[in-house]
Chain length 117, copies 2
DNA sequence: TTGACATATGCCGATATGGACATATATTTG
DNA sequence: CAAATATATGTCCATATCGGCATATGTCAA
């Protein structure tokens, strides 16, 4: 077998730096391809290809506007990523460390109390 | 130029399904390589390679324990991902839509009041 | 219709990757 | 030390990409 396809879901689409930048640029307002290309300082073809990936995984939508196409953010597609990551929040949060210590102390106390009674 | 390296940051490390599963398995407790391999039903070498990637981007830490190595979650490495994604929350949240409508109505009201006064 | 402008695609080259296998390296035991 | 157990690595294969370039497709204006 070979390398697994990587441009098939939001996680992979977002793994590409340029694509992340595109999404950031689309916050708030739609933009035509050339504008994005200029902003990112990359060629138009490359921009179109990234946009295609983003479109295929549902992170952007297109709207025809005369001779140009306006790309807009489809943020809902980022929810799976958010939900997955948020599942780890408690593990990096300082509060978690404190809670952990607290629980530890509590257990020691319980232990002591247990012995005592 | 050629393809950009993809296993150099958390975003890319997490783009791989198996690696995501490994991280999930490491929530709460450390685990030796073989246990992970069995749980994921993938070969040990493959598991070690995924762990290497995760280690290089700082998402897991290793601890020698006799003849085995215990891998533990280093959730802090996921913060950049979380922070990036959270920046889009308002755009997918329904509340945002409601807030938007609310603001719009408020502005109309202000407008009306302005006219009236 | 022709020309200018905006995008999308196809093709090629260089390289990164995931996976399977065999094997090297360590550590613990007998 | 030798055997067993646990991991890490190197090699080979097939394929997925990213990027550049040339070019096809589509749209609007004169």
């Amino acid at each position: 077998m070979a390398r697994a396809a990587t441009t098939s879901d939001a996680f992979n689409a977002v793994a590409e730096p340029q694509r992340r930048r595109i999404l950031v640029l689309l916050k708030g307002r739609e933009r035509p391809v050339n504008e994005l290309a200029r902003a990112l300082r990359i060629t138009q073809p490359r921009t179109s290809k990234h946009l295609r990936v983003l479109r295929e995984v549902g992170l952007v939508r297109v709207r025809e506007a005369g001779q140009q196409r306006l790309y807009g953010l489809e943020a809902r597609g980022l929810q799976p990523v958010h939900e997955w990551v948020i599942g780890f929040e408690q593990y990096w949060n300082e509060n978690f460390d404190r809670l952990n210590e607290y629980v530890k102390k509590l257990q020691q106390k319980e232990h002591a109390d247990g012995k005592r009674s």
